[in-house]
């Protein structure tokens, strides 16, 4: 059987889900023998490849770069997994949505002007920092998602349970505390 091509991606989140992925410890060695990791913040690959079997998506969709890459990932991937609470619910990054339709101006004002100790100004040079979206969105609000693996972060044991089922060719099913938010 051809080795599964797996990707992981890091959008608006703290990288804690990727840390939890690394907490798989020796299972990572088993995994390396069974799959090809073709795109991830933990490998050096600049362009998301074609024909990916499964992608673990960490983080909420916060800016234009996230949005563009997510659409590319959907087009090039068979199975998408919302990986962790930010991807599943928006979580902490989505708390800015509570500030209403003008939240982008508000958060930039707060971060770059009010809390600046020197030289307060908003970054405005085009093409350097991606523009924030008006609302932070969970992944499934933008594209169809096959599976959800909540948790902040999802415990390594749950990631292992999920991936083991995928590798066995069964439909992954998690239940009870395995799908606990937070």
């Amino acid at each position: 059987m051809e080795r599964l091509k797996i990707a992981t991606v890091w959008f608006g989140g703290c990288a804690g889900c990727h840390m939890s992925f690394l907490d798989l410890d020796e299972f990572l060695i088993d995994l390396a023998g069974l799959v090809d990791l073709v795109y991830s913040p933990i490998i050096d690959c600049k362009e998301y490849p074609e024909n990916v079997d499964l992608c673990l998506i960490e983080g909420a969709i916060c800016n234009e770069d996230n949005l563009e890459l997510l659409h590319k990932i959907r087009a090039r991937t068979k199975v998408l997994v919302s990986f962790g609470d930010c991807a599943v619910t928006g979580n902490v990054p989505a708390m800015r949505n509570q500030l209403g339709p003008d939240n982008v101006a508000n958060v930039l004002q707060c971060a770059y002007i009010e809390h600046a100790q020197e030289n307060p100004r908003r970054p405005s040079t085009a093409g350097i920092v991606p523009a924030l979206l008006p609302r932070v969105m969970p992944v499934h609000e933008v594209v169809a998602v096959e599976y959800f693996l909540p948790g902040c972060p999802p415990a390594a044991a749950n990631i292992k349970a999920f991936l083991t089922q995928v590798l066995a060719g069964t439909t992954p099913q998690l239940s009870g505390r395995q799908i606990k938010f937070g």
Partner: protein, 238 residues
């Protein structure tokens, strides 16, 4: 007192007249998910988690406010009920800002526990992300409206266990909110006895003891249970 004979999930049971389907099910060892129900205070049927199917009625009925009757046939678990319970939970999560990861009650929350117990791994509805505040004016307790599900357990505990009548509900629909007295800051309340029964009663992280941080708030029901037991059964167990 006349007894009624009914079936719950196909099992015939006999129940005291005038008790609710929820009470009859609990006595028969059948577990129905609940959220606004609290032992010792009257039921209001607010959360709709305990909806059951009753033969002869197309509507789903809340087990906590529906009385048993002779020959009643109740189903507490079905594909349809699971669908509506999950929908109800998702709507509760979408309505306010339940960010479990940064909640005082993370790991000890009835809403969170019900969500994973009933298989809710994501919310299909758009989050409303409303702007709600936190009342931290009380010297001992805090009220975070972002995490309130309007179950009114705190109001009922305040009025009917403590008898203070400090907590109330104001507004309508999704804009309803729990208020203190006539919408005063909690710390200014002259009626609040600072007994903490509202905090004990709260199923989520909406009411908490001051000083608790993420995952630290566990709602201790023992004080409420002690008083209710003493009142209803005249047992002053320590």
């Amino acid at each position: 007192m006349a007894a009624k004979t009914l079936t719950i999930d196909g099992t015939q049971i006999s129940a005291e007249n005038h008790i609710t389907v929820l009470q009859a099910a609990t006595e028969a060892g059948v577990k129905i998910p609940t959220l606004c129900h609290l032992e010792g205070v009257y039921d209001v049927g607010a959360c709709r988690l305990c909806l059951v199917e009753v033969k002869g009625t197309a509507k789903l009925l809340p087990a906590c406010t529906t009385r048993v009757y002779e020959g009643m046939e109740v189903a507490t678990d079905s594909e349809r009920l699971r669908k509506y319970r999950r929908m109800t939970l998702e709507l509760l999560f979408a309505e306010r800002n339940h960010v479990c990861a940064v909640c005082v009650s993370n790991g000890h929350c009835e809403l969170q526990t019900l969500a994973y117990s009933l298989g809710m791994d994501h919310v299909r509805y758009d989050y409303c992300s409303p702007k709600w505040g936190v009342d931290a004016t009380h010297r001992l307790f805090g009220m975070d409206h972002n995490r309130c599900i309007l179950c009114t357990r705190c109001v009922r505990a305040c009025w009917h266990i403590e008898g203070a009548g400090t907590k109330n509900v104001a507004g309508r629909g999704g804009k309803s909110m729990i208020i203190t007295d006539l919408n005063e800051p909690w710390g200014n309340s002259e009626t609040c006895t600072a007994c903490g029964k509202c905090v004990s009663a709260c199923p989520t992280g909406a009411l908490s003891a001051k000083g608790s941080t993420v995952s630290e708030m566990q709602h201790d029901r023992s004080k409420l249970e002690f008083i209710v037991n003493a009142r209803e059964k005249k047992q002053w167990s320590v």
